[in-house]
Symmetry: C2
Subunit: 341 residues, 2 copies
Amino acid sequence: MDDGDGTRSRKVTLKDVAQLAGVSVATASKALNGRANVHPDTRRRVVETAERLAFTPNTLAQNLLSGQSGTVGLVTNDLEGRFSIPILMGAEDAFGAGKTSIFLCDAREDPIRESYHLQALLGRRVDGLIIVGSRTDPRPPVPDVPVPVVYVYAPSENPADLSFVPDNVGAGRQAAEHLITLGRRRIAHIAGDPTYAAARDRVQGVDEAMAAAGLELVDGHAAHGTWSESWGRAATRTVLDRSPDVDAIVCGSDQIARGVLDTLRDLGRDVPRDVSVVSFDNWEILATGARPQLTSVDMSFERLGRRAAQAIFDAMDGKTASGVHTEPCRLVVRGSSLEGA
Amino acid sequence: MDDGDGTRSRKVTLKDVAQLAGVSVATASKALNGRANVHPDTRRRVVETAERLAFTPNTLAQNLLSGQSGTVGLVTNDLEGRFSIPILMGAEDAFGAGKTSIFLCDAREDPIRESYHLQALLGRRVDGLIIVGSRTDPRPPVPDVPVPVVYVYAPSENPADLSFVPDNVGAGRQAAEHLITLGRRRIAHIAGDPTYAAARDRVQGVDEAMAAAGLELVDGHAAHGTWSESWGRAATRTVLDRSPDVDAIVCGSDQIARGVLDTLRDLGRDVPRDVSVVSFDNWEILATGARPQLTSVDMSFERLGRRAAQAIFDAMDGKTASGVHTEPCRLVVRGSSLEGA
DNA sequence: TTGTAAGCGTTATCAA
DNA sequence: TTGATAACGCTTACAA
């Protein structure tokens, strides 16, 4: 960071390279950018000089010319980054690491903070915005901005906006179908917080699959509660109390499932032999730490991130899209629902 | 995004504002930036025009002049974002939301990907770099870069670099002292993966506290294993087998603690009455879902993020620092170690 | 093949 | 009080 005499070294510019290589800035630019009509010797000299000086072109200056910043803003609202990081990774993959850089801002569910971040991002001339919510319920759209906006996980209330959300109905269907395929017939559903669309959608999916198979949930319907282990524990007692012959439980989330597993164990039921358990989220830390490990439906966050990135690319090319797009989820089978166990 | 005739509207520049307000660009700039020597009427007119056009100054252009980009790169290596998001939040707080924006890149423990991101960040002229590792073991420094670099969680191998890490030794001490204060005397330690500095440091801290109190761990020393619930379960059986009268267990992580709690329950021990349990990480989802809820030592990631941000500010002001700085952790008491229970 | 000059959007200096 | 001008680092006609 120092240039030897104690002062921070001024950053190397193209001018420095050109001077040292004994050419004009224009020629240096062409040489480094692989333009035609540059003498091979000249090009070599410039390239070598640039390397020697560790020249890094100032992307800001390039962007000022091109009008594109090669950056995207990702505004998140989920405290733990459980959604955002996988979405970020998916977006990075789609953009190509290094090609486009991502500003990650945490709005912490605070509209004021969000608009503050938005302002900063627009000032930095991001080429697009990805808005990530903490729940799949529709959210108010961000105020009109001059760049493409994509909503992920939480869709925009405005159908003219473009949103990508996981297919929770399909996830519910997959979970139930899996259990039915295993031969389970007396299935209970301990669902999540009914104020969340995700909870209701999963319930709907489960109900659909049951109906399609000509089955009915024990108790007739899902039991809604909260997204917590303690709810899973409490509900399991109720279920076993009322329907001792239950042979499978769909859990609204991995957290709920952890509570369910604990109580099944407390009450002497073997999983998966006596009762198979399936849940949603595939939150690695919870799913693989459980005993047995949890079969769970993954929300495919990375895929959502990739789709969002792709959509921003498309929009930059003028190919705009709109509506709430639903992306498939993925069942991950583990010990809590093993066949033949 | 459209200006009515189907073409994307060109972004509003200061020139547009100036023209419409009937002043020069220079005057418009002064008016908007609160410079002195601008006629109040002129200023009002300019400000109004800017608002009407939804003018957002191009930060890139401003940066080109000032040489400062008002951005910082945060390169992370922890897959789940468990460290990065809190660190990001701490950094955002210290920088002031909106003032400085943060590029978040995930290197995924891949040096090639990391250098790729580094290149992109330097091209964007970030004012500083925060490098986040996934473990507290020293890591190779990034190649020489012309901006301040701060390492968080994983310190740099080079002592001339600046690193902030949690005080795992102190954390171990706090955990053990807490148990000792509660009157526990027959304490076991089920530790984490011994290849991790974090595991060894926590062990050291526990050992120090025990020695200071004139006590010894049951079994004489910590049992090292892996960072998993299954290790916690297995180790607990061994501990109870060899030392049935154990009255407290320090667990190397919340994951381990979850396994420990499960097995204590299986073996009929009441927590916290018979056995108190304390662990490390304070990973909310694990700690609060447990029964009883886990007493755990928080690694203070947000604080680390704030310190890193502050250090970058300082370095930009020429106040450079170096060495591995250790930040205190914070004991969070919950049901697994309640006094008098 | 190379260099000169204009321009991207903004701010600072200085003259009017 | 206002405005013309230069500058930031780079790219790209266009001229040499």
